[in-house]
Amino acid sequence: MYGEVFQDELDARREGLGFPNEVFETGSDGASYLSNNIYEECAGDDELFAIGFKLFYMQAREPGARTAWRYLMHHRNLRIVHLTRDNLLEAFVSFVEARASGRWLSEVDKLLRGAPMHVDTDECLAFLDQIYSYRGWANQAFCQHQVFELSYERHLIADFGSAMTQVQKFLGVPPLRLPVLLRKQGTAPIETRVINFDEVRRALRHTIHAIK
């Protein structure tokens, strides 16, 4: 399983891929890269049961790279694990926290305690609308594929072990007990992590993202 092979930053792409694989060159063709480097390279490897990578909605959107989406949509035999968040506001706040700290992932045993953040309500709403829009699109774009909807809150956080078993079953790979390596960034209630939480609540009130 590779990481974000279409990440904006070259270093992050390299990290997502691991040595000695060939990293995606900015401006080159995304579809060819998937075909020649991610999937086909391992075609003859009997030890490999499945191969995949992680892709955010907004990745591979630049010229060249964007053909990766066409490749994925056209190859209906690919299985899609669609990871979604029920609480998009939480996702946005984690994103703002990670952006501020420069740390996008944290290991299980390292507790993070950042200062509460100010949230720009316009940016927040635009982010939520965008995810809402792309999530709906992904459901439609991959409706002919086999898709496993994996909820961050209801599956990964609630019961990581059983979620992983289900994913492995979906992918048709022999089940392994997988350890939890990463923890979510902000574990404190969102109200305490956002200085202007009331303002955010009011801004979202008459929208699809209203806080219940």
Binding site: M73, Q130, S133, G136, T207
Partner: protein, 592 residues
């Protein structure tokens, strides 16, 4: 606002709401523009048209609206854009409109958000209003991210409006309908309680700026870049070549299914149609309440695709109605449903009328078309399915008119469904009709008796067989053919004596059984079935290997027996009214 006949026109910015308001006004109805516009002069102008004092920033929105034409006997309305009264004290205006469920809502949308945005952008740059001539417009660069933000915002808010105003008198129309379809204005006037028909619904000044007239390609200097940016994105649709008027390949007829049916499958996915021909689920049992997900974003998108005639979620090679071309015409739909369609509703305030219970896949057989091993839910999996079942019974069953038990597995082998049929007191669900789907092997007289309290609700049964001889039955199903035929005779008797209305037997056509199709019809008629259903073999996940499927799929043109199969299907018996070739119909040339 409670005494007069008030209405609200909801729309997004650049939706041409001013055109609709002008049409309404010209029909003699009082309507004003954007009372909550950020520009005080626009607010003042809007308020003046209805003799109201303008809204002052910082005032309470709800209190302001409560002053709106309270004494009027005639309808009066105002426009409210998604973006208006979004923050601060003004935002209570939305609470006000939301809480008054007697206020008719006219929701004006745009089919083509690119054209909408461009038109307004051209207008802004050229200062021209109604008769913009794009040919005279200098081209300009478009900021893709800004445009995407506009699209995202409108799409999210449009869904929100449909959801929160589902209990209001609600009419959704598009700008395109407004300018092309004369009956649209008539419907609007009727909806808001104004005397309809008193207006010229297509006045001269109403000039449509069509997609092709905008000539996005010429006006947008970086058109190729913009197109590429939106490729494979939620807004790709606005950049594809659009068929000219009259060439839209809209389907004749409406499919009511996504508007009235809900199924829950063994994976906990919620569906508005059979997974075999509409693969996209509308939700997941773990994602929230059933009633809430009935109107999920995807459910609404699927219904939209039916209303716009694109049927883009449906697999036209698999869906029997699409293969046969038998979608009911709009006029043939029940009146209540016709109203939903005419109102353009995609968010349903009714709960589903038809339920397909498929969360327990338990079966006493392991037919190769369906599964590779026996499945009997036990332990935790059983408890999970039972919890789903309880939610269905408590949340959805009271409103349902039909329940299909079960879409996947066997209704009699499943403890959950068996107990359900045993314990159901039909007198408590007088409108409910149940169809039992089973392989029939355990559906005998004794079993039927255990369902005695549910008898009046059980409308019929559909029995899957796939063979007309014991040998083929053994291959395709694996049970005792003799026992099955005995049970079919019993069920046939139930039908003949009027205890059930409907008895169907079904047959998944494959290379090893197509030669028995005629005998199968004979068997069905002999035992007393009302209908005989033949279906195409579909490769379900976890069933056949590719090679095994290819060997069985006689419907595929490259199958060695395909020609023979086609000739076989030409027999007149397949034209009989009790025979349904469903998604195989296209393989039969209709008789003279």
């Amino acid at each position: 606002m409670t005494n007069g006949r008030r209405f609200v026109i909801l729309s997004h910015d650049r939706s041409e709401a001013s055109v609709l308001r002008r049409l309404v006004r010209e029909a003699g109805v009082q309507v004003c523009g954007d009372l909550f516009d950020s520009d005080p002069s626009i607010r003042a102008e809007a308020a003046a048209t209805v003799g109201l004092k303008p809204y002052c920033s910082g005032d309470d929105g709800a209190a302001y609206l409560s002053e709106f034409g309270t004494d009027d006997k005639e309808p009066a309305g105002f426009g409210l854009l998604y973006e208006h009264a979004a923050r601060g004290p003004a935002s209570t205006a939305w609470d006000f409109v939301r809480s008054r469920q007697d206020i008719p809502i006219v929701h004006l949308t745009s089919d083509d958000l690119l054209v909408t945005w461009l038109r307004a952008e051209i207008e802004r740059r050229c200062g021209d209003t109604m008769n913009t001539r794009p040919t005279d417009t200098p081209s300009f660069e478009v900021d893709c991210e800004r445009l995407a933000e506009f699209f995202d915002r409108v799409v999210a808010k449009r869904y929100w409006v449909r959801l929160v105003f589902q209990s209001h008198p609600f009419l959704e129309i598009s700008y395109r309908q407004l300018v092309r379809d004369r009956s649209t204005m008539y419907r609007v006037l009727k909806h808001i309680g104004a005397g309809a028909g008193s207006t010229d619904v297509a006045p001269d000044w109403l000039v449509e700026i069509r997609a092709e007239q905008i000539m996005a390609q010429r006006v947008i200097a970086n058109f190729d870049e913009v197109c590429a940016y939106f490729r494979h994105s939620p807004h790709d649709v606005y950049f594809r070549d659009r068929p000219a008027d009259g060439q839209v390949a809209a389907r004749a007829g409406f499919c009511p299914r996504p508007f009235e049916s809900l199924g829950i499958d063994a994976q906990g996915k919620l569906r508005v149609c059979c997974e075999d021909w509409l693969t996209t689920p509308i939700g997941d049992i773990r994602s929230g309440g059933l009633a809430e997900q009935w109107n999920s974003q995807t459910a609404v998108a699927i219904r939209d695709s039916i209303l716009d005639g694109s049927y883009r979620f449906c697999d036209s090679r698999q869906c029997p109605d699409l293969v046969k071309g038998t979608l009911p015409a709009f006029e043939a739909l029940p009146k209540g449903f016709q109203r939903w369609v005419a109102e353009g509703r995609t968010v349903m305030s009714n709960l589903p009328a038809t339920l397909s219970l498929g969360y327990d896949p338990t079966c006493n057989l392991k037919c190769p078309t369906c599964r590779s091993d026996f499945i009997v839910l036990k332990g935790e999996a059983f408890q999970r399915a039972l919890a789903v079942h309880r939610s269905v019974v408590s949340e959805l069953l009271p409103a349902a008119r039909q329940a299909i038990v079960t879409g996947h597995g066997d209704a009699i082998a499943s403890r959950i469904y068996r107990e359900f049929l045993r314990n159901l007191d039909a007198s408590k669900f007088p409108n409910l009709r149940i169809i039992v789907l089973s392989n029939g092997l355990n559906f005998d007289a004794r079993m039927w008796e255990t369902f005695s309290a549910a008898h009046s609700a059980i409308m019929g049964a559909s029995i899957s067989v796939d063979a007309a001889t014991p040998e083929t039955y053994k291959l395709n199903r694996g049970g005792s053919f003799e026992k099955l035929v005995g049970n079919l005779r019993f069920l046939g008797e139930l039908r003949r004596s009027g205890k059930i209305d409907f008895l169907e037997i079904s047959f998944v056509v494959q290379a090893n059984n197509f030669a028995e199709m005629v005998d199968f019809i004979g068997l069905a008629r002999e035992v007393g079935c009302s209908s005989i259903l033949f279906m195409k073999l579909i490769r379900w996940p976890g069933t056949f290997s590719e090679t095994e499927f290819a060997n069985r799929a006689v419907q595929e043109s490259d199958h060695p027996l395909h020609q023979e199969f086609l000739e076989f299907l030409q027999q007149p018996i397949f034209e009989s009214s009790d025979v349904d070739l469903s998604n195989l119909s296209h393989l039969r040339t209709p008789g003279p």
